[in-house]
Amino acid sequence: MSKAILYDSTLCVGCRQCEEACSTRWKLPYNEKIAAEEKISSHKLTTIRTFGEKFSRKLCMHCQDPACASVCPVAALQKTAAGPVVYDEDRCMGCRYCMVACPFQVPTYEWEARLPKVRKCDMCSDRVPGGGVTRCSEACGYGATITGNRDELIAEARKRIAEKPKEYHPKIYGVEEVGGTSVLVLSSVPFEQIGYNTKVIKSALPALTWNALQHVPDVVVMGSVLMGGIHWISHRKEAVARKEGRS
């Protein structure tokens, strides 16, 4: 059963307890200055963003079929069956293709380090697969962030929209986006108004590269036959001439 996070921005009061809990889990410093930085970075893996009276949360979306995992040349990023997209820093060579490929601009880099690594939320992969909840869910005193099974959370989100249609925008962000994500978002306003990218395509991104990449074996076989053939034809004239003593 695949796990997910449901973030209901209508319940969020912007207290930033989730940020602090996350920093504690990663042993990262957290203070007022960092709290004021409303963007994720290698020292802040989730953030609350303020849009007037409204709040939104940014964290790794844990795509069902993540672009980052598909592009990584060393398979340092993996989508686990339990839901989290995890990163193995011992494999990473630092090409940063994951950062380029991510449709949500999530993976961040330790730019100041001499031997840097990628940093991103891993959905508390030490807890969630065993049935636990993420630190951010645990820290949230308002029920704005909860952890659960993905289909149950989708059902729960639909129920909330149905019960209070006036308070919710009728869509769940993360059901269709890039083929589905393991972070689901509810909002009272259209998602682009609180900082979510609604221009992402509705199908999984890795299919786009696979369309090209799947032809590699065929190119190898066809190319060999074609070039062997051309070589044979283009050199035969000469060979015949030589045999007939014409050259």
Binding site: I40, S41, S42, A67, S70, V71, C72, P73, V74, A75, A76, R91, C92, M93, G94, C95, R96, Y97, M99, V100, A101, P103, Q105, P107, T108, Y109, W111, E112, A113, R114, L115, P116, K117, N197, K199, V200, I201, L205, P206, L208, T209, W210, N211, A212, L213, V216, V219, V220, G223, S224, M227, G228, I230, H231, S234, H235, E238
Partner: protein, 392 residues
């Protein structure tokens, strides 16, 4: 300027570029990518990827293009330029590898893709192809060294296995030259519609072939200058014609693709993307038109100018795909830091230097039998130039 003065100027410039780059290298490896680049979480790839790697691999495409023309298609008249093309390619790939060391966050793990597989990754495929192809280029380059050292037996053994090596080289090149375009297929909404296309791999492949030819013409001109050799002028003219056709094919495909995707409408949008697009098209279209004119093909200077324009157009396209076309969606403005520019300049300068040195000491330009022609045929003498153009 006298020759001696000019020579001092270039040596001085080369020395300055290298000294600055040495300091830039120290900054890069001691203080890290943050201190040595203007890259950020929003803009993780800059000119080290966009120019040094993407353009570098393209500019080295002459190796497989000429190897295919001469050894597979058996067009013997191109024989005189196959070695310089292979040398450029070999040096080009080595330089790309060096440049990659600057860009990778942990360069000492560059070999990881060889044992840690992810066959779904374009970068994984490119990594394998480039590794294998650099080895192939080494084998294709080796005869020049063996000849120089007089190792006849080794030379003969190598010659006997050269055909499969060359076919392998052409296949590996086809794969990774196109895959460098596939790298950007994962960015349907991030890359500007003037550059994002499902055809990117094909466009990259065709433009690489054109660039392989253009670089070969470029080298012929420079080596003629540098070594006082006679330019293989009829051959250069022939390559110019082929180049014109390949550019025409490329531009037709480019515009058909833009038309079918409805991307031409974005030219009405404000912003500098349309100007960069215009620049790219002009820098490719103008040399194409030039090369189709007989007057241009009779004039080595004009051919050289056209070739340089085309190479700049090629570089503009690759930088548009990998850098500038990604700016709008990133939300930041990226201008390379001096360290980034310095390292890139050093790669180019070092490439010129090593090519010259190798061409000086190795039998790169074989004593081919061809008609002696004046280095610069006089324009007035059109009849003579005609006979050159026709003659093989």
């Amino acid at each position: 300027m006298t020759n001696a003065l000019r020579s001092y100027f270039w040596r001085g410039l080369f020395a300055v570029i290298m000294v600055v780059a040495a300091y830039a290298t120290f900054v890069r490896f001691y203080y890290g990518l943050g201190a040595s680049t203007n890259l950020s979480d929003q803009f993780p790839w800059g000119i080290w990827v966009g120019f040094d790697v993407l353009c570098g691999v393209g500019l080295a495409a002459g190796g497989f293009t000429l190897a295919a023309i001469v050894h597979i298609f058996n067009l013997k008249s191109y024989h005189a330029v196959v070695r310089p093309a292979i040398l450029t390619a070999f040096l080009g790939y080595l330089l790309v590898t060096v440049a990659l060391m600057f860009d990778l966050g942990r360069p000492y793990r560059v070999w990881h893709p060889l044992i840690m597989w992810n066959p779904r990754s374009v970068m994984f495929e490119v990594g394998w192809c480039v590794t294998l192809y650099t080895s192939v280029l080494f084998l294709e380059f080796l005869p020049m060294v063996l000849e120089k050292l007089g190792l006849v037996k080794a030379h003969r053994i190598l010659k006997n296995v050269m055909l499969p090596i060359i076919i392998l080289g052409v296949i590996l090149s086809t794969l990774h030259q196109s895959s460098l375009g596939s790298v950007f297929l994962i960015l349907p909404t991030k890359l500007h519609p003037l550059w994002y296309s499902p055809l990117l791999p094909v466009l990259f492949y065709v433009s690489a072939i054109a660039t392989g030819l253009a670089m070969t013409i470029f080298e012929s001109w420079h080596s003629a200058k540098a070594f006082g050799r006679q330019l293989e002028f009829p051959l250069v003219q022939r390559m110019t014609r082929v180049l014109a056709v390949v550019i025409a094919v490329y531009l037709t495909m480019r515009f058909l693709d833009l038309y079918h995707r409805g991307a031409l409408a974005t030219l009405n949008n404000p912003g500098w993307e349309r100007w960069l697009f215009g620049l790219e098209i002009v820098l490719m279209g103008v040399p194409m038109l030039m090369f189709f004119r007989e007057r241009t093909r009779e004039n080595p200077q004009a051919i050289y100018v056209g070739t340089v324009l085309f190479l700049l157009g090629f570089v503009t396209h690759r930088l548009n795909v990998s850098v500038t076309g990604l700016e709008a969606s990133s939300g930041v403005h990226y201008v390379p830091k001096w360290t980034e520019i310095s390292v890139t300049l050093a790669m180019v300068a070092f490439g010129f230097f090593v090519f010259r040195t190798a061409a000086h000491y190795l039998p790169v330009f074989e004593a081919e039998e061809h008609e002696p022609v004046p280095e610069v045929p006089v324009l007035e003498d059109r009849a003579y130039a005609h006979s050159l153009a026709r003659g093989d």
